[in-house]
């Protein structure tokens, strides 16, 4: 194997059988093929490092989603109005994915910072985008059972008239992508784990109680509806609802644009935070 910088240094990674071969790791490949080769390895690393934690988290997500769907019904004294039932049934899966994307990564990064293993993880020789993609994959796979269970519980409890299409897959993927990007930005841009924890709690509080995710917008003051038009929570709910119900949902294209903008901005912030090397 020849050194990639043209110095002419020649080292065989497996030469001599027992030699570690310093050139093997020194390859400086780039490009799509390199990215693709790194991706499954990082996915395997992410799953392996959280192996003890992920099954518990997946179960908790299922219980939280189903519990939330059933619990909200208790707020209504009698029959749950159809419109409210639709918002609850389509909104709780959004909350599911949103919480997972927003909370899991900051928590893990916070633990890494406290345990001082953050530097090792950051020193792994893979493109930063591979690390994010691996994390996103894991979040999506852990969140999927919760979304399915939540939707099933909602269908049984409220019969909201689901018309589930294949569009639910990209919709859930987009919601999860934006949520993961927001989590990624907070996790890397805010160095203090306690501050990150407080921020995530505030965002969770806003998403659940003050955004038209699980409730129709007419139940909120106008100014809050206006604010929510520029925040990702409402957009996530619109995208998800459009993939789950038969009736046309207004503003899907705009919602997609809002989510794309948030995703891009948060990834840019995360990239800047990791790259600033302060």
């Amino acid at each position: 194997m020849t050194a990639p910088d043209g110095t002419g240094t020649t080292v065989d990674p497996t030469a001599g059988g027992s030699g570690p071969g310093t050139a093997g790791a020194a390859e400086l490949r780039t490009g799509p093929r390199y990215w693709v080769s790194c991706y499954p390895r990082m996915v395997a690393w992410q799953f392996a490092t959280l192996r003890l934690y992920l099954p518990v988290l997946a179960v908790v997500q299922v219980l939280a989603g189903v519990g939330f769907v059933l619990g909200i019904g208790l707020f209504f004294p009698g029959e749950v109005p159809h419109r409210s039932a639709v918002y609850v049934s389509t909104g709780v899966p959004v909350i599911n994915l949103y919480l997972l994307g927003l909370v899991l990564l900051p928590q893990v990064i916070g633990q890494q910072r406290l345990a001082k293993t953050y530097d090792f993880t950051q020193s792994l020789p893979v493109p930063r985008s591979v690390g994010f993609a691996a994390w996103y994959t894991m979040t999506l796979l852990v969140g999927a059972p919760a979304v399915v269970a939540t939707l099933a519980a909602a269908a049984l409890r409220y019969d909201p008239g689901f018309a589930v299409s294949l569009a639910v897959v990209p919709a859930a993927a987009l919601v999860c992508l934006t949520a993961t990007a927001v989590g990624q930005a907070m996790a890397h841009a805010v160095a203090e784990p306690m501050v990150v924890q407080v921020l995530t709690q505030i965002l969770n509080f806003l998403a659940i109680g003050f955004a038209p995710v699980c409730m129709p917008p007419e139940q909120l003051p106008d100014w809050l509806v206006t604010v929510n038009r520029w925040l990702p929570f409402d957009a996530m709910a619109v995208v998800m609802r459009s993939a789950l119900v038969e009736q046309p949902v207004a503003g899907v294209a705009r919602a997609c644009l809002v989510l794309a903008a948030w995703t891009a901005a948060c990834l840019a912030l995360a990239g800047w935070a990791v790259g600033r090397r302060g």
Binding site: A3, D5, T7, G8, T9, V11, P13, T14, G16, S18, G19, P20, G21, T22, A23, G24, A25, A26, E27, L28, R29, C38, R41, M42, A44, W45, A48, T49, L50, R51, L52, Y53, Q112, A115, K116, T117, D119, F120, T121, Q122, S123, L124, P125, V126, P127, G275, R276, R277, G278
Partner: protein
């Protein structure tokens, strides 16, 4: 030395944190392939800051870091691929089995499945870790976990391998195995940077070293060259508790007190006078015992870092 094409060159490196702390101050050093290079200094000396700049996790305020002609400051992604890094903290392998952790990092570092598997097994054997190959990190003792971390970093090493206190918690027998493996790595062409504050270990393990304190490189050279010289001796006097330092004698070239121990450097031509003086201290009950030996790297280390502390007494708490 195997080749100079992949020398790690740190040139006039300065790192000032946002709050004004100068972590590295115009540091210059060069590590050749095949060399074990020690970075020796007390806690807070700036060693970790220095290596984090080498691996692209911190951006220098000024200065250059190059490896094989590549600018690692401008290209931190290349720095991560060309350098392997064992941090001082334990690895995040609570849920990974030892062999699995080693193989996974080898694969992430770009190794093929079979070569990595073969090399991982070699490392487990070389470090005598075979009985723990299927044990998860959470169940490993601190020392074994440290060795697994070492194997993770070196299973498919970069051109530069940075080891931050690699022997922490490791038992004496396996320490020797680890040092053997470090030597093999160097023999295979890696440049090894060993970060430590363990002077005795550094003296045995490194080819050259730099003593760094408060961000400044105070001295650099082979362990022999950094000792106080062949014409000097080390006089160690165990003072009785509560006794003040004895009045300085003209032949004492320098002294440092640590607890009840006074370590003095004397010229070899003054050996007789030094022994007589130390015996007198014992006779009058000022000291309990003394020893006159060849100087060690520790003497140079204490002299250099101690002198630096005296230069700027307010700088260290």
């Amino acid at each position: 030395m195997i080749s100079s094409g992949w020398s790690l060159c740190v040139d006039d490196l300065t790192k000032v944190y946002r709050r004004g702390t100068v972590a590295n101050d115009s540091v210059c050093l060069r590590v050749e392939p095949g060399e074990v290079y020690g970075l020796l200094g007390p806690n807070g000396a700036g060693k970790s800051t220095l290596v984090k700049q080498v691996i692209g996790l911190l951006r220098p305020t000024s200065g250059r870091i190059t490896l094989g002609g590549r600018d690692l400051v401008a290209d931190p992604a290349a720095a991560r691929r060309l350098c392997s890094y064992l941090p001082q903290a334990q690895m995040p392998i609570e849920s990974l089995r030892s062999l699995e952790a080693i193989e996974l990092t080898g694969r992430i570092r770009g190794g093929g499945r079979n070569p990595v598997r073969r090399r991982a097994r070699e490392l487990l054997d070389a470090l005598d870790l075979g009985e723990w190959e299927r044990t998860t990190g959470a169940r490993l003792s601190g020392g074994v976990r440290r060795l697994v971390g070492f194997a993770m970093v070196t299973v498919w090493p970069g051109r530069v391998v940075i080891l931050d206190e690699p022997t922490n918690d490791v038992d004496p027998l396996r320490r020797r195995l680890l040092w053997d493996e470090v030597r093999r790595l160097a023999g295979d062409g890696a440049a090894i940077v060993l970060v430590t504050h363990n002077v005795l270990e550094a003296e045995k393990a490194v080819d050259r070293l730099a003593i760094i304190d408060r961000g400044r490189l105070l001295a650099e050279g082979t362990p022999s060259a950094l000792k106080d010289g062949k014409d000097r001796l080390r006089l160690q006097v165990m003072l009785r508790p509560g006794r003040e330092d004895p009045a300085p004698e003209p032949f004492v070239l320098g002294s440092v007190r640590t607890g009840h121990t006074l370590v003095a450097t004397v010229g070899s031509q003054d050996a007789g006078a030094a022994i007589a003086w130390a015996q007198r201290l014992v006779d009058v009950g000022h000291a309990e015992e003394y020893a006159l030996t060849a100087t060690t790297l520790e003497d140079a280390y204490i002299r250099l870092t101690g002198a630096a502390a005296l230069d700027d007494p307010g700088a260290r708490s």
